[in-house]
Structures are given as C-alpha cells and as structure tokens.
Amino acid sequence: MSDASAGTGFLEHAPHFNNAAHEKRAAQMGMWLFLVNEVLLFAGLFTAFFMYRFLYTDTFRFLAFAELDWVMGTVNTGVLLASSFTVVLAVQAARAHKSKLVGIWLLATIAFAGAFLVIKYFEYSHKIHEGLLPGQYFSYDLSESIAKVKADPEKMLHINDANINLDQVGNGAPMFFTLYFFITGLHGIHVLIGMFLLGWMAWRAFKGEFARKNDTPIELSGMYWHLVDLIWIYVYPMLYLL
C-alpha cells in the first residue's frame, strides 16, 4: 500500500483505496453513473410524453396552455433553482469544514423543497377537484374550457400563433393528465427522497461530522438534489409551456 499523497493522507478512507482522494473520486464516479440511470428512468416517461404529444398534438398543446397553471409551474421552477443554489453553498461550506453552516444551508434547501411540494399540492388538489385526472378518472368538460378560451381574444392570439386547431382538442386529453401525473409524481417522489437524504445530512452536519471528515456525503447528496432540479428544468417547458 503506497500511502497517500501529502495533504490528504490524514483523512480516513476504506482500506481498498490508496487514499481519501482516491475514494472520493470513486464515490463521485459511482454517483454519476447512478444519475445516468436516473436520467434514463425519466427518459422512458419523456418518450411516452413525446409520442402521445405527437399523436394528440393539439390537445396536448391546448391543455398545457389552458389547464395547467403556468404561474405555479414557473414559481416552482424558481423555488427549485433557489434550492439548488443553497445546496451548492452547503457543499462549499462542507469543503471549508464549517459543519454548522452546512446544516443551515441544507435546512434552507429542505425548506425550498417543502415549498415546492406545497405548491405541487395546491396544483394537484385543483386538478383533482376539477376532474382533470388520468385515464378512466378523467371527468372534465373540455368544451367549456374551449369556449372560455375562444371568448378571450388575448388567449386566442396565442392559440392562433401556436397554430393550435381548437376543433381537434379533446382526443387524448385523459392521456395528457396520465402523463402529467406520472411525470410530476415520479419527480415528486424524487423530491421526497432528496428531502430525506438532505435531512439526514443536515442532522449529521449539526452533530459536527463535517468539521473534520471529508465532504463526500454532502457533495453526493447535493448532486442528487441537482438532478431533481435538472429533470424539472425539462419538465417545466414540456408540460407547462409547449
């Protein structure tokens, strides 16, 4: 065992690694590979979305415009971006071995995540209330919604500009909400997992664990959280804007 390049040798590491830097490199790589798998997991759903969007173009575009709340979607995007920022600061604090600070930034992140879920809750309950539900549970009268849009010249401006054929709207509407709930639901589960992960890290941080030890756990959970943000960056325009 050739031991340790200077400067990092004092850190603990598992016996099958040469030194802590070596171990950290492996951990980062493992995490990236895990994230690759997460990307492919969502890609399956994205494929389904694009396939049905291709088949039911007008419906999907109309529903994205008229039935999804762009305000909530945009606010949620902002919330997630901000949470990503606080995680970065936590990682930075961990690198500086300021364990308490790590905990504080992580708590901030969890608060943002909570806000995200609360907004999501309002969005969901509104959809459920209206009957904008997946598959067989869909019970919403689209003709009313179409009439409302037709009556609003400003909205018609967008409809015409986006070339949405209102006569075609209707077929495949339950499918849009199937996909809406699957994509946001799977994403929401990831948010929840992320919250637990960050909560655990925060607990460790307040115990002062990151004052001495290396910052790998924080960095890896941070990467996981960024992935949650990354997925949302695509989900947001896909569902709310296109």
Partner: protein
C-alpha cells in the same frame, strides 16, 4: 429463377418447412435456403479449422512457450468485411421482399379480419361474415385488414408465410396471393390467454369459379349460422349495413350517394360517389388518396384533412360511430362508383 426455386424445393422437406402455398412463400424459402446453406458451410468450415488446429497444436508440456503471431491487417479486415457484406446482402434481399409483402396490389380483394378471444372472424365487404374459416379464391391477391377486439393477437398462416399482429382499436395490413387450392391452417402467434393454442382457423383456397359461386350463394342466402361480428347486423353485409348507417347517422344529408339524379341540389359535403381511392386536394393544398385510413380519419377528425372548397361544418363522429360501423361505412363508400350507380341506399 422460378425453375431454380422449383428444383430446390427438396430443401423445404429437409428443413421441415410448412407447405408453400402463396406467391410470397418461394421468395422467403429461397432466401431461407441461402441463409441455411451459408450457415452450414460456415459452421463446418470453422469446425474443420478448430479440429485441425487441435490436432496440430496439442500441448506437449505444461509450461510450453508458444510463438508470437500477429494478425496481418488483411486478415483483420477480412474478419470484418466478410460477415458484414454477407449479412448486408441478406438484409437487402430480405428487406426487399418484406416491403413487397407489405404493399398490397391495387386490385386485391379486401377482407376484414378480427381477432377475438379465442376465434378469428372475417368479414367480406360485399359478402358474408365468417368465423374461423377464411375462403379465398386462388390466384387473386387478398388484402387483410386486421384488428382485434380485446388483446393483441397475431394472424399467422404458415403456408402463406404471412404473419401480422392484430392490435385492438386499430388496423394493420397484410396480404397474400394463394397459389394452390386446399385447406391451410391459421394460428394465433401472439400469446392471448387461456385458449391461445386453440385459436386456430383455416384458409380454404378455392378455384375462382367455385369461389364466385360460393360468394354469390352467400350473398343471396343469409347463413343461419352466421355469428354477430360486432361489426354488422347478422343479416346484412357490411356495405348494406353502411348504407343503412349513412341514413341513420345523417351522413347522406350532406354527402351525395347518387349522382345519377341531376335534379337534386348540390350537397354541403363532398359526394361519396367515386370517392374511394380518388385523389383529394385538401384545404391546405396538399393531396391525399382517399383510402380506408383517410376515410376513417375523416369520420373521426373531419377538420384535419378538410377537402378544398367545402365549408368546415362536419362534426366529429368520434364516439358516435363504433369502429365496426366506420368500417361498414367505408365499405359502403367503396361500392359507390362513378360509372355504376349502386342500387344500395339511394335517396
């Protein structure tokens, strides 16, 4: 070429191939023989090399030191090129035949096929409905429009070398031209539940005259044993069913079905007479052939492919027409030809 295939037909017996009874079968068999022969040659070649090398280079001592041998470049290139060229040649031939097998000739006889747990139902546009037994004339291309009522089935006629999955709620196509009279099996090749293995039908290939006689007979007499297809009345052929539907659902209010009577005012929608397979110019200037798919789409989504010069008035019949009814209407439209005014459903 045909003589060559004929003279090699013993290969089929060697390979236990099903009898070959369609125009597609010799194409597939011929390629199969080539693939088989080359595979066997390759295998015996490789086996001979392996055995030869084993005899020549057996180990003499436990720690024997061997000679260095670097592969020459041509050899590496050959390892890539030979299989690549062979496989691509096979693919090209195969894909050529595949496209051919996917392109039904224009004059083919249409039969609607529906898979249902666990039986096959056939519906002749201007004739009877049949269960399990499909009757076709020899020497005439038959196009199958295949659908399913419940889960995925697969229409498989081994002697015709055709197979096509039946998807619920939509139509897929296949076609064949029988070359021999006789009775041949039909299997379901896609697992569909409990009695999947008994979902067996048969194709009866008849001489043309016999077939015509049978068809005339079938048109005249309604079969007592006729079973509800879920597409039509028990008593009606698809076209007469379509004619009735055209009146019931109000199609004929806007679409002319009879142009022989010049005293009638022009209709709101395009005339149905001579519509089938004609080229339509759409509102956006593009052109489309009015085939089954187009007609069905126009019933369900009339505004998407609106014909030039007509007002956007027609409502969607989505949910109003069952899929079988749409097929019946389509068949009715197909009977309306310019030169021969139909007796059916005149206003």
């Amino acid at each position: 070429m045909n003589e060559l295939i004929e003279s090699l037909s013993w290969m089929n017996d060697l390979l236990f191939m099903a009898e070959s009874t369609s125009t597609l079968a010799p194409k597939i068999d011929f390629l199969h023989w080539q693939v088989f022969t080359i595979t066997m040659l390759a295998f015996f070649g490789i086996a001979a090399v392996v055995i030869g090398l084993y005899i020549r280079y057996r180990r003499k001592e436990d720690h024997q030191v061997t000679e260095i041998f670097h592969p020459p470049l041509w050899m590496e290139a050959a390892f890539i090129a030979v299989p690549f060229i062979t496989f691509m040649a096979w693919f090209t031939m195969g894909f050529h035949d595949f496209v051919w097998s996917r392109t039904p000739p224009k004059d083919s006889l249409d039969v609607y096929v529906m898979g249902k747990k666990w039986m096959w139902k056939y519906s002749y546009p201007d004739g009877p409905n049949m269960v399990d037994t499909l009757r076709v004339p020899v020497g005439r291309p038959v196009r199958l429009l295949i659908t399913s009522r419940d889960v995925i089935h697969s229409f498989f006629a081994p002697t015709m070398r055709i197979k096509q999955d039946a998807l619920p709620g939509r139509y897929t196509e296949s076609w064949f031209e029988a070359t021999k009279t006789g009775t041949y099996p039909i299997f379901c090749a896609e697992y569909c539940g409990l009695n999947h293995s008994t979902m067996i039908g048969s194709i009866v290939v008849m001489p043309t005259r016999e077939y015509d006689a049978w068809m005339d007979d079938a048109k005249r007499n309604t079969y007592a044993s006729r079973v509800d297809l879920g597409m039509t009345d028990q008593q009606a052929t698809m076209a007469t069913q379509g004619a009735r539907l055209a009146l019931e659902k109000g199609c004929a209010r806007c679409h002319s079905v009879d142009e022989s009577n010049a005293s009638l005012p022009p209709t709101l929608g395009p005339s149905w007479v001579g519509l089938y397979r004609s080229e339509r110019t759409l509102a956006d200037g593009s052109k489309v052939i009015a085939d089954e798919a187009y007609l069905t789409r126009s019933m369900m989504d009339p505004m998407v492919e609106l014909v030039q010069g007509f007002p956007p008035l027609m409502p969607s019949y989505q949910g109003i027409l069952q899929s079988g009814e749409a097929a019946a209407l389509t068949e009715y439209i197909k009977t309306l030809k310019k030169d021969s005014p139909t007796k059916l459903g005149a206003r």
